[in-house]
């Protein structure tokens, strides 16, 4: 593979432009746009009464703010002299607007999983040890251990950290992505547009307080090191080497012709140590990220662009050691890698997600379309850059590497989504390469086109990202209901929720067994009586009884996603109310809690 980098340069960036009048004017407009968008977001009431999610209820002020930011960014990139402070301000404004909208709307963390992660941190802090028998999280405990340290050291509540995590994580991701993109191009416009497209196109919604968000930052940061201090450059094209010395000899000749870009061996060793350090932290923190890391490193090494092949071996060895030690309990019952056939993979990642209400189906279709559109633009971008003489294969290799994981890991049906995330820095870089001209200023028609593309992606991302807002943005009544659940539950009681979108498990993670009706009644989805019998049997077998919580988010999730017919859910609520074994112990406008009393009280 021949890799000749001819990235265009921008000499104008070094001229200070912060004092120019337009910088101040744009900064003022950006502040106004963010203010307008935030104010509009605070007007959104929960529950979100729309199957399209937030996109259906956000006031016009939000869209005006988002539109203004996009226009300002494109005009700022057109400027003869780019202003770093202005571009940074615009980027931060976009992140606050796009990722802060639900924060300003509700003031509470979104999605069940973020709440669950608080419970894991609490369990680790309270117990002061890692018990791998609890569940899979405790077999990859690194992130939670570090977070427990941060929560206890700072004194900031874990819930506050979870609330702001999306903004914090995306800012970290952008900083790491900036390092990576700068390894590919010296064109400042290309850099800033890539970062803008990254922030706009991150609809995947994995930036909440989670090990994968943490692992993704470390992953991109590691590639920041690899693509700068540990990068290599073959001095011979592979085709030329093969024609000179035959296939085997040519490959050997090409391989040995590689030169390190960093000439100082001590610096390379230090960079390698840093990469290993980050790699090991990834290995102990998340189940999936190390595999993507290893595949990406391997492809980069095979492309002749990583100077130290040992890095992939060391990270691979660390992964094997961890799987055999720290994660061995989990792996005893769950294979970490499992190969599905193509039909299973498609069904798990796409087919099974296209069910439910019309609005939900439309949102899923928009997610798929947006993802395909961005990938198509990225591939066209690579072709355009290649034709312009920028024959750097590294962005393409790193863009493609996560796709190799799709057939080998179904990962609960989320692997395509994870692929979209891991390829996003490179997708954004290649898309920016498609949209920008090779040299000269961005023309007015092209600027208009870039604005249109940015607006389409903005609209698509708000729709795709917040499409589940009806059930993943919880109401104060639902959160109060969960508090009551824990306050009223006897120790060791079985806790049952209607379905997965429930703000629970944020405390007493280990003390209670948690289950959902959707999981318990998986085999009798249309039979409320059979489902009730299953729950009743489970509750009465437990000496401490059970508490069953049904909330609005459960009902909406079941209706929108078509998991369990809503009629069954409503029927269940009525049957609990009429059951002689269960009694209603709490209700508010969004929550019902029934109790099957402990054995001693029956």
């Amino acid at each position: 593979m021949t890799t000749i980098s001819k990235a265009p340069t921008s000499d104008s960036i070094d001229v200070p432009a912060w004092a120019r009048w337009y910088v101040w004017a744009f900064a003022g407009l950006a502040a106004l746009a963010v203010g307008l968008a935030i104010r509009a977001a605070t007007e959104v009431d929960t529950p979100v009464e729309n199957d399209w999610g937030l996109v259906g209820v956000l006031p016009v002020g939000f869209w005006v703010g988002l539109f203004t930011l996009n226009v300002l960014m494109v005009i700022a990139i057109r400027a003869r002299r780019l202003s770093r402070p202005l571009l940074t301000l615009l980027l931060v404004s976009l992140v606050v607007t796009l990722y802060g909208a639900p924060i300003f709307a509700t003031g509470t963390p979104r999605g069940e999983v973020a709440w669950r992660h608080l419970g894991i941190v609490g369990a680790i802090s309270a117990n002061g040890r890692i018990d791998p028998e609890i569940d899979g999280y405790f077999n990859w405990p690194g992130f939670f251990a570090g977070l427990a340290g941060v929560v206890e050291s700072t004194g900031i509540s874990a819930q506050t950290i979870a609330l702001v995590a999306p903004i914090f994580n995306v800012l970290l991701w952008l900083a790491a992505t900036a390092v990576v993109v700068r390894a590919f191009t010296k064109d400042s416009r290309h850099l800033w547009l890539s970062l803008w497209l990254f922030a706009l196109g991150n609809w995947i919604d994995q930036d909440y307080l989670s090990p994968q968000a943490f692992g993704f930052f470390l992953h991109v940061a590691l590639f920041g090191v690899v693509l700068t201090s540990l990068t290599a450059r073959p001095t011979l094209p592979l085709s030329g080497a093969v024609s000179l010395a035959g296939t085997v000899g040519g490959i050997r000749l090409w391989w040995t012709s590689r030169e390190p870009v960093e000439p100082d061996a001590h610096r390379r060793v230090a960079a390698l140590i840093i990469a290993v350090l980050i790699g090991v932290a990834i290995v102990i923190s998340h189940q999936l990220t190390p595999f993507v890391l290893i595949v990406s490193l391997l492809l980069l090494t095979l492309a002749g662009r990583c100077w130290t092949p040992g890095l992939v071996l060391i990270v691979g060895l660390a992964l094997v050691i961890w799987l055999e030690t720290g994660a061995s309990t989990y792996l005893a019952g769950h294979p970490v890698l499992f190969v599905n056939d193509a039909d299973q993979v498609v069904a798990a990642n796409l087919g099974e997600r296209i069910n439910g209400s019309d609005g939900h189906v439309a949102v899923v279709a928009i997610r798929t379309t947006l993802m395909m559109l961005m990938w198509a633009l990225a591939l066209c971008g690579f072709v355009k850059l290649y034709r312009r003489g920028i024959r750097d294969l590294r962005p393409l290799v790193l863009f493609m590497a996560p796709f190799l994981m799709i057939p080998t890991q179904s990962y609960g049906g989320e692997m395509v989504l994870r692929t979209a995330l891991f390829s996003l820095p490179f997708t954004a870089y290649l898309m920016a390469g498609l949209l920008l001209p090779g040299r000269g200023r961005v023309s007015y028609p092209l600027s208009a086109l870039i604005i249109v593309v940015c607006l389409v992606i903005s609209l698509g991302t708000v729709t795709a990202r917040y499409g589940n807002a009806r059930f993943d943005m919880f109401t104060p009544a639902e959160i109060e209901g969960s508090r009551e659940l824990y306050a009223r539950a006897p120790t060791n009681a079985l806790l049952i929720s209607g379905a997965h979108p429930t703000p629970w498990r944020y405390r007493s993670y280990v003390e209670f067994r948690h289950d959902t009706i959707t999981d318990l009644c998986e085999n009798v989805p249309n039979d409320a009586s059979a489902c009730l019998a299953l729950i009743r049997g489970r509750a009465l077998r437990n000496p401490e009884g059970a508490l069953v919580m049904l909330n609005r988010a459960n009902r909406e999730s079941l209706r929108m996603q078509g998991e369990l017919p809503a009629l069954t859910f409503e029927a269940l609520a009525e049957m609990f109310a009429e059951s002689p074994d269960a009694r209603l112990i709490y209700r508010n406008k969004d929550v019902l809690i029934f109790q099957y009393p402990p054995l001693a009280e029956r």
Partner: protein, 124 residues
């Protein structure tokens, strides 16, 4: 020889920014071990958990680009937090003071290669 060892322990050959960060980290570890209340705990934790250890590690690679230095500083600090917290939990010696002191120690230890490099190469 004794003087040489003492000089290494005192990180006398390390460049001034690294030495200053190590000193601040040790100070923050000491304060953090006393479990102060916010906002002091937030300031000392940010220095000790997000900046200092990673900065010292990043300096050892002589990263010239300020953005790369910043990203590696934060990433390496977080990586060290995770590794140290996990180790303490597996050893069942987890506590906030132990975590703070161990991160201070990690920062000092991370500066030693820089000190050795400086003695070998004459500058860091």
């Amino acid at each position: 020889m004794f003087r040489s060892i003492a000089a290494r322990v005192a990180l006398a050959d390390v460049d001034p920014p690294t030495r200053a960060v190590v000193a601040v980290a040790v100070g923050c570890a000491g304060v953090q071990a006393l479990q102060p209340a916010p906002p002091l705990s937030i300031v000392t934790s940010v220095v000790l958990l997000l900046l200092a250890p990673g900065f010292v590690v990043a300096r050892s690679a002589h990263l010239d680009d300020p953005l790369l230095l910043l990203v590696v500083t934060v990433a390496a600090s977080m990586a060290l937090d995770v590794l140290m917290a996990t180790l303490l939990l597996y050893l069942r010696v987890w506590s906030v003071p132990a975590f703070a002191l161990s991160m201070g120690l990690v920062t000092v230890v991370a500066a030693i290669p820089a000190a050795l490099g400086a003695q070998r190469g004459g500058a860091t």
